[in-house]
Symmetry: C2
Subunit: 123 residues, 2 copies
Amino acid sequence: EAPLVREVMLPSITVRDAISVQDAAKIIIGKQVNHLPVVSADNKLIGIVTAYDISKAVALDKGDSLKGIMTRRVITATPDEPIDLAARRLERHNISALPVVDHGNTVVGIITSEDLSKLLACR
Amino acid sequence: EAPLVREVMLPSITVRDAISVQDAAKIIIGKQVNHLPVVSADNKLIGIVTAYDISKAVALDKGDSLKGIMTRRVITATPDEPIDLAARRLERHNISALPVVDHGNTVVGIITSEDLSKLLACR
Ligand SMILES: C[S@@+](CC[C@H](N)C(=O)[O-])C[C@H]1O[C@@H](n2cnc3c(N)ncnc32)[C@H](O)[C@@H]1O
Ligand SMILES: C[S@@+](CC[C@H](N)C(=O)[O-])C[C@H]1O[C@@H](n2cnc3c(N)ncnc32)[C@H](O)[C@@H]1O
């Protein structure tokens, strides 16, 4: 039996969309993560911003608000799914993290390809 | 038997250290990758720069040359290692990609946690 997402996911750092691109970059470096789910005032998922998006802002000289660079249609997972479904979703969308949400679209964690690849580290 | 790195690795895009941070960001976006091994004139590995490093340049307002932001002590893999060793090395160093090098330190590919997590996608 494959483990469930809830057994592999980690707590997620989340941000509000009013912060600047530089603020987001500082949080990515400060917390040593690559993915920041963006949430509304009532903690509902409204987007995601990653180190890749910060690179896009640099590439295109677009550097002001997070709203201009974040991805709004977010692919997610739920805690009770088996991890092979999460791995398949990551592959299908060519992304490296899934915010984990409950039925109210509140962020309860995050699962990344880095976390999944760690499962292969034991003989 | 675990598959070998050579069966999972992909061809790697490499860059020279003379390019700018913005050039590196444009290649990351253009090729949709997060990791760029940096090589010398004779194609030997001398560093790595990732979307995370571009974010660091934004966070710290350091934006000019690649030499100032790239990581020089690169953790690598070889083609004939089993992938569980590669996965363990990624975990131990908290990194998400290993350039694959031959005995002459020439880059022959790259293996990422995204590629490894895809192995978990089939039931
Ligand atoms: C398409 S991937 C390509 C590069 C690489 N595969 C990666 O995941 O970083 C990069 C884009 O995916 C977006 N992204 C990351 N996780 C996402 C998710 N769970 N749902 C929707 N988009 C996501 C990011 O905002 C970024 O613009
Ligand atoms: C320590 S990780 C932390 C964030 C996240 N785990 C990741 O891998 O992106 C980020 C740093 O790792 C470095 N890095 C990535 N792959 C590397 C490798 N194979 N060898 C050495 N450093 C590497 C990058 O240059 C970047 O400065």
